[in-house]
């Protein structure tokens, strides 16, 4: 039985030429747990907003064709106050959804709008808190909560309204790994209840796969590209998924490598697949000979104005030529501050940072928009060049070459703010690289990016490092670290708690816990398999897996 159906929906946002959704047909069955995937800009969020009536009732759009029926009601004809009783929607960023200042008020907000009497509110709030593991130890004020907990409060506030369906639109996209795990645990318990129809948009596919019944994939144009059973989609359509730029589970690659017909849903299942075949030995990580030191930080400390403790509390590190150093750690560990110190943007309160002669560091911030100099893409590239004192004719030449190299040539005269998510990221990296810096420093570069953009960025990092360049990446994204970093520095409370190869970090449970890091799914599978068969290698990324498979394909 259908809970919601989208029928030949074509919808265009105000001020856009191309439709966000084109003739989309999708069924969401009663009680079904549906995973929705698609590259960025494929219309996933637009679809989510249509399902609970925000479009067209609260946000205007050109509704060009088709209709959406939820729980038997045409969303364009029903009132939004009725539609929100049917479907609740959880957005990406908890900060952009919270209205009140205290947890209980926040959960009550939706109930007040529904006109639930006060004496009934208390019990509904209590039930919603219990469902999202918000117990009495949770601080009362929202401002005191972590991102993951705030997102659970938002989820609780939706659950309290008792909708029959729930849409979760990339609920972990703005969270650190531990926060994401909190929210996914809450999702898992909802999925286990099977009381509601659930639709989740989430690129941590490995983590949600065991809680979903079906997968639907949108393509870049807003069509439904494929849908069906997760094993069929992920094992049978891998090529197409890759060409669409859609995240697929890492464990699907493991399933293919071992000839399994099913994508493992749990770490133990994955570990069993690992032990089911032989793996070529992987060279133990050796401390590779490092090039000339470019940046040296000695006993560096930094304290922000009016802060009670040092954000960076005595750090000694060296960044050398030809390496990709990843800086990892929990939120508030001082990663970005250390990055700003290394780049010379902040001056240390104590200690010193020295930069090798004739070296420059280009810093790419987490949010590309923050760094744009308004006007055009070309002007943005030229801005950095003229700031470095490059002559205008030469600047023109280099800007044009870089536009070509980054596939931005056709956007040269566009306003940077009008670019898509991925294009903005590309422009911010291009603007940093156009001046040919010795060190490229990237702050959370994969945050909120789709697979194609992340793969592109990874290739760029690899290429620079191979060519002898240096990259420093501040990130929560351990799969990215596993695939591209040559060295990892883990921070906690402003201090270095680990320094070494990514594989060494993955073997250190204590550091992972302290830094609130979660092992990438492949690394977790191999770690568990090694506990049974100690001789196995610790493979932690898709790239390593592919290398291992190539090596074992060659007869010894």
């Amino acid at each position: 039985m259908s809970f919601a159906s989208v029928e030949s929906l074509t919808l265009r946002h105000i001020g856009r030429r191309a439709p966000a959704l084109r003739g989309l047909d999708l069924e969401w069955h009663q009680g079904e747990r549906l995973l929705l995937l698609g590259p960025s800009g494929s219309g996933k969020s637009t679809l989510a907003l249509c399902l609970d009536g925000v479009i067209p009732h609260s946000l205007d759009a050109h509704w060009e064709a088709g209709r959406v029926v939820v729980n038997g009601r045409d969303t364009r004809e029903a009132r939004i106050s009725d539609l929100v009783r049917d479907v609740g929607i959880l957005f990406q960023d908890p900060e952009a959804q919270l209205v009140m200042l205290e947890v209980d008020d926040e959960i009550a907000f939706g109930l007040e709008n529904l006109g639930v009497p006060r004496d009934r509110m208390r019990e509904r709030i209590a039930a919603a808190r219990a469902a999202t593991a918000l117990d009495s130890s949770t601080p009362r004020l929202l401002a005191d909560l972590s991102g993951g907990t705030k997102q659970r409060v938002t989820l609780a506030s939706l659950l309290a309204m008792r909708p029959r369906g729930l849409v979760l639109d990339e609920p972990t996209a703005t969270l650190d790994p531990a926060g994401a795990r909190e929210v996914l645990a809450a999702f898992a318990s909802l999925a286990a209840d099977r009381e509601r129809s659930l639709l989740i948009v989430e690129h941590r596919v490995d983590e949600v796969l065991r809680h979903v019944d079906r997968v639907a994939v949108l393509d870049g144009e807003g069509h439904l590209a494929m849908e069906g059973d997760p094993d069929r989609v992920f094992l049978g359509e891998a090529q197409r998924l890759r060409s669409l730029g859609v995240w697929e589970p890492d464990l699907a690659a493991l399933a293919r490598a071992t000839g399994a017909q099913r994508v493992p849903r749990t770490a133990d299942e994955a570990a069993a697949l690992v032990t089911s075949r032989d793996w070529p030995a992987v060279d133990e990580p050796v401390a590779s000979a490092r090039g000339r030191p470019l940046i040296a930080a000695r006993a560096v400390r930094y304290r922000y104005e009016r802060a009670s403790r040092d954000a960076v509390a005595g750090v000694d590190i060296i960044v050398a030529e030809g390496e990709c150093v990843a800086i990892v750690g929990p939120n508030g560990a001082g990663k970005s501050t250390l990055g700003l110190l290394l780049a010379g943007v902040l001056r240390p309160s104590a200690g010193e940072v020295t930069l090798a002669a004739r070296s420059r560091v280009a810093y790419v911030f987490q949010y590309p928009e923050h760094q744009f100099v308004p006007s055009t893409v070309r002007a943005d590239l030229r801005f950095g060049l003229s700031a470095c004192g490059v002559a205008p004719a030469e600047a023109d030449r280099r800007a044009t070459a870089t536009l070509e190299q980054f596939g931005l040539a056709r956007l040269a005269e566009a306003n940077p703010y009008s670019l898509s998510h991925g294009e903005k990221r590309r422009l911010s990296v291009a603007s940093a690289l156009v001046t040919d810096p010795q060190v490229l420093l990237l702050d959370e570069p994969t945050f909120g990016q789709d697979r194609r953009n992340v793969d592109e960025l990874g290739a760029l990092v690899d290429e620079r490092v191979r060519a002898g360049g240096t990259v420093v990446v501040i990130t929560h994204d351990l799969p990215f670290v596993a695939a591209h970093a040559t060295r990892v520095i883990a921070l906690a409370d402003g201090r270095v708690v680990f320094e070494g190869a990514p594989q060494e970090l993955f073997a250190r449970a204590d550091v992972l816990t302290r830094c609130r890091l979660v092992l990438p799914p492949l690394a977790e599978a191999f770690r568990r398999a090694r506990a049974q068969r100690p001789g196995l290698p610790l493979i932690s990324s898709r790239a390593e897996l592919d290398r291992a498979l190539r090596r074992s394909a060659v007869p010894a």
Binding site: L49, D52, V54, H57, S58, L59, R79, I80, S81, V84, R85, G88, I89, F91, E95, A96, Q97, L98, V99, M100, L101, D104, D105, A108, F109, G110, L111, E112, N113, L114, G115, V116, P117, R118, M121, I125, L142, A143, S157, L158, M161, L340, A343, V345, L346, Y363, F365, Y367, E369, H370, Q371, F372, V373, P374, F383, G384, A387, C388, Y417, S431
Partner: protein, 252 residues
Amino acid sequence: MVKFAVVLVLSLLLVLVIDPITPLLFLALTLLAAAALGNVSLASYGRAFAVLAVVGLGFVWSNAILASAPGETPPLAVWGPIRVSEAGLRFGIAIALRGLAIGAISLTFVLTTDPTRFAVSLARNARVPDRIAYPLLAAYRFLPFLTDEYAQIHLAQRVRGAADASTFGGLRRRLRELVPLFATAVRRATRVAVAMDARGFAGASSRTYLRETPIGGGDVVFALVAIAGALALLWLSASAGWLRLWDGRFSA
């Protein structure tokens, strides 16, 4: 809500007072009451007063040299073309102290009021539309976000090597930084509005409230005591001959 009304009344009363002593009395009483009953740190007053004091000094200075009617009374001091009159100085000090007193009363309100209760009470007791009262709360959350965001943007733009040394370079840079700030602020505000509507804020017909905000005996007593206190001060000031009320003129 009652508290807000009292603050409004007291501030209006003070606006009409143009002598320097009466505001000083109000200031003393407010601080005394806040310290005794409000459980607030005087340090927070100190910080706010530092700002108000600078503004206040500006008033003193401008009134002292501008508000003097030539030939009326001999000036207190003459530095070249600058004549400082006694009346002007008195008026300036009165305005400055009045600012401090109103500031102290308002700050006491801010420091001792739970913003959620205030917003709900505005909606329920003062019948301010929900469409205005609730966005007030969202805006309250917004301010720290904007400050953080601006700090980030400032750093990000500095990294771009935007060292423009010309006279207007600094100003141009600041203006440039406002563009991304504005862009993120607008986007964020839109998202919050959409999220509120998605939780039924739009089209809510018979809204209920989790918080009870009855106006009780305590509120009445508070209002009476506060107003009585204010009147007592005015009476004290009047009987001592200090009090002067505004008579419609803009100079002494």
